[in-house]
């Protein structure tokens, strides 16, 4: 009786998919160059995508990429639209309440960026009176409000990191807190980033874990049996050199972090 009812439900849903297939459905939000983005001919690419393929190769499944907007990433996972998220998702405590993570597969530190003539010490002294733009709802915003506000800096939240760069350019901001890879390629390497530099220490020390989590991991539903095989796969590609090959394809430094 139950089987029959289940069969009816499947036929009502436009496509019933077996949960245990050969395909591993991987969610990405391809708007985060160079980790996940799309080439001009519409193919998903980037460091996350390559890592996903390397993991799939190890666990003998075929990666099928599903594009999903960031806002509905976790609901989509819970609704079983896909099996895992491999899209530069930080493993924060809030997220760990609702989903499981693998071990980290990379961890790029966030950094403070201000004009290069501003003197900033290791405890972020010297930022008094400076206005820093951050992405609203981001780990960097939490850090800035938790640490830099007490040092006398003003923290201004923005809807998108692009807008932060625009406002630095127009002179309304003195700097930002952002992922070092993002701010490196999106701002420092561009003409408008001239005269700006990283300030203070790199934010991947233990004392900042409470803001930034412990790096990026593969996200899956709570209690999913995929966790062990994926952790093993990450260990294997770290050991056999395929990780390094992918790392060097995109970066001039080690993104795995400490």
């Amino acid at each position: 009786m139950n089987k029959l009812l289940a069969a009816i439900l499947v036929s009502v849903g436009a496509s019933g998919a077996m949960a245990q297939g050969a395909d591993l459905k991987v969610a990405i939000d391809p708007t985060y160059q160079p980790f996940t983005f799309k080439t001009a001919d519409g193919k998903p690419t980037g460091f996350d995508v390559d890592i996903a393929n390397a993991i799939c190769e190890q666990i003998k499944r075929k990666c099928v990429f599903v594009e999903q907007v960031w806002d509905s990433m976790i609901p989509g996972l819970q609704a079983k639209k896909y099996d895992v998220i491999i899209s530069s998702m930080s493993m924060t405590d809030d997220r760990k309440k609702v989903i499981d993570f693998s071990d980290k597969y990379y961890n790029t530190p966030s950094r403070v960026v201000v004009k290069s003539d501003v003197k900033v010490d290791d405890a972020f002294g010297g930022l008094k009176g400076k206005k820093l733009g951050v992405l609203k709802g981001s780990t960097q915003e939490k850090f800035a409000l938790g640490e830099l506000k007490a040092k006398g800096a003003t923290i201004v939240p923005y809807e998108a990191q692009d807008q932060v760069y625009l406002d630095i350019k127009s002179g309304r901001l003195d700097g930002t807190v952002a992922d070092s890879v993002e701010v490196g390629a999106g701002f420092l390497a561009k003409p408008e980033g001239k005269g700006y530099a990283f300030a203070g220490p790199s934010l991947d020390a233990q004392q900042y874990f409470k803001y930034f989590g412990s790096g990026m991991g593969v996200a899956m539903r709570k209690g999913d049996k995929l966790k062990q095989p994926i952790n093993d796969a990450i260990k294997t590609i770290r050991a056999n050199g395929s990780y390094k090959k992918l790392n060097d394809k995109y970066f001039t430094f080690d993104v795995y972090g400490k």
Partner: protein, 228 residues
Amino acid sequence: MTGYYLTILEGAALTVAVSLASLLVAILLGLAGASAKLSGRKPLVAAATLYTTLVRGVPELVLMLLIFYGGTIGLNALMEALGSEQTIDIEPFAAGVITIGFIYGAYMTETFRGAILAVPKGQMEAAWAFGMGPLRTFWRITLPQMIRYALPGFTNNWLVLIKATALVSLIGLQDMTYRAKQASAATREPFTFLLFAAGLFLLYTWVSLWVLRRVEARYSLGTKRGQL
């Protein structure tokens, strides 16, 4: 570079398809809702009032997430409870069309209700006196006259609906706004692609305004200009 423009154009086709299909759903729901509200039967009036109050009071984004993800999670939990290994996947296009149609049906209900009220009651009474049934009265007498009154509000709803289709990217459909965002992220040139998408939206609304003006002219035949 041109590749990105092409993918945005593909997204534009999806936007047009979603908006037109949603409009159809919204019109049907709007007519049903308006008839229910004007029927004078208590349960029907109550149901329609609940519908318009609830839907117009809750943000579209929240409704979209609730219906699509909430619905799927609920169905899958039910499947698990029934002991099935399979998972249900609601087709995103249908889900997007139904959700947007459901939301804008509530706005259409009010637009159509106002338009029907604007048709003099004597028109319908005359039709009944000729022995026309309720359906025939609606098609022959009420509908052709209410269209003129409904059009200004209808046009507003339609323009807002077109822009609301950008929400379908939340449920995994790649409409033109989402494609434009992807292109700007990949190239780090936000304005180029967002302006292109904005231009396409403008073209689409401009064409629909032109069509709606023609419809308005057609249904205003026989009425003096500036009479209202």
